[in-house]
């Protein structure tokens, strides 16, 4: 926050990867963070999930790249809100699994290899700050928990949602296709017969792609939505480049054409 004027002085377009300009109001920063010292910039800054705010991003000079877990979650749920399947009154459960690079390059006892490897470790059972971004996007309550798993790059969100009205698989395919058919960085992966039937972080490691998919549970009218990104790309640096490409009028996919590796282990 304190350097933002210097950065904007130095460049026409600033993309901030931190959370400093993601939310809309000082009140939200008071609730979720430790307040905000430059609230007058919150209105100006544009939140960058390009898939959600493409128009606003064009020409924007202060861009706040979305949080990694928020990005995964929002991309998974968006078609359900866009398609009127959810309206914000439903209970949404979001269970996220993340890799160690989410914690940055710093070292601590908990992040040492011997302690951090092989884990399925709840680390933010409640109160994760990315909830604020999801709630801001959809105007809904979310029940969000994150787990550390043994992977370096990647975030996978599983959303369990219960629409007020029953839906069909066809409705879901329709909604997801409607939202994402023209998106360069979103791949629908839902079902099929191979090894990769649903979104997985290792399938997008190193890329700016998000994979999204779903399954419908007939017995209880639950939809399970899966989404997977690489937190270092679609969850941060790639998203930033994508947003900058839009802001500056470049080809959206410029510099972001890596397709990933197969096979790959814990990326």
């Amino acid at each position: 926050m304190e350097h933002i004027d210097a950065f904007r002085e130095a460049a026409d377009t600033v993309v901030d990867l931190s959370a400093d300009f993601r939310l809309d109001s000082e009140a939200e920063y008071d609730e979720w963070y430790d307040g905000h010292s430059r609230p007058e910039l919150l209105e100006e800054s544009v939140y960058a999930l390009p898939e959600r705010n493409r128009d606003e991003l064009s020409g924007a000079s202060l861009i706040a790249a979305g949080g990694c877990n928020a990005t995964a979650t929002i991309l998974g749920l968006a078609p359900l809100f866009d398609g009127g399947i959810l309206d914000g009154s439903e209970q949404l459960v979001v269970d996220v699994k993340v890799g160690s690079s989410e914690g940055g390059a710093g070292s601590s006892k908990a992040s040492s290899h011997a302690e951090r490897s092989g884990v399925v470790r709840p680390y933010a059972p409640t109160g994760h700050r990315h909830e604020a971004e999801i709630q801001a996007e959809f105007g809904c309550e979310t029940a969000f928990s994150a787990h550390a798993v043994d992977m370096t790059r990647g975030a996978a969100a599983t959303c369990h949602v219960f629409p007020n009205e029953p839906v069909t698989t066809g409705d879901l395919w329709g909604a997801f296709r409607e939202t994402y058919d023209d998106e360069p960085f979103v791949r629908l992966v839902a079902g099929g017969t191979g090894v990769y039937r649903y979104p997985e972080p290792k399938a997008v490691a190193g890329t700016n792609y998000a994979e999204v998919g779903f399954e419908l549970d007939p017995s209880n009218e639950r939809i399970v939505v899966f989404s997977a990104i690489d937190n270092m790309m679609k969850g941060s640096a790639g998203q930033a480049v994508h947003a900058a490409n839009i802001s500056c009028g470049f080809e959206e996919t410029a510099g972001l054409d890596f397709q990933g590796l197969h096979p790959v282990g814990a990326p």
């Binding site: 931190s18 949080g67 990694c68 877990n69 989410e102 680390y123 933010a124 994760h128 700050r129 994150a146």
Partner: protein, 54 residues
């Protein structure tokens, strides 16, 4: 003798417990701060924020 404000477990404290002291609850593992003595009152100590996934 005092109860953990977090989980309700009974804690047996040593005799010369002092205000400001930090005590771990053996049951829930919570860090407790002694805010008064005679009788002893405990509060949950403020936690260090971990900041993953920004």
């Amino acid at each position: 003798m005092a109860n953990c404000p977090e989980c309700g477990a009974e804690l047996s404290l040593h005799d010369d417990v002092e205000t400001g002291e930090i005590i771990d609850c053996g049951t829930c593992g919570g860090e407790l701060e002694v805010v008064a003595t005679g009788p002893v009152e405990l509060e949950t100590a403020p936690e260090l924020e971990e900041d993953w996934g920004e």
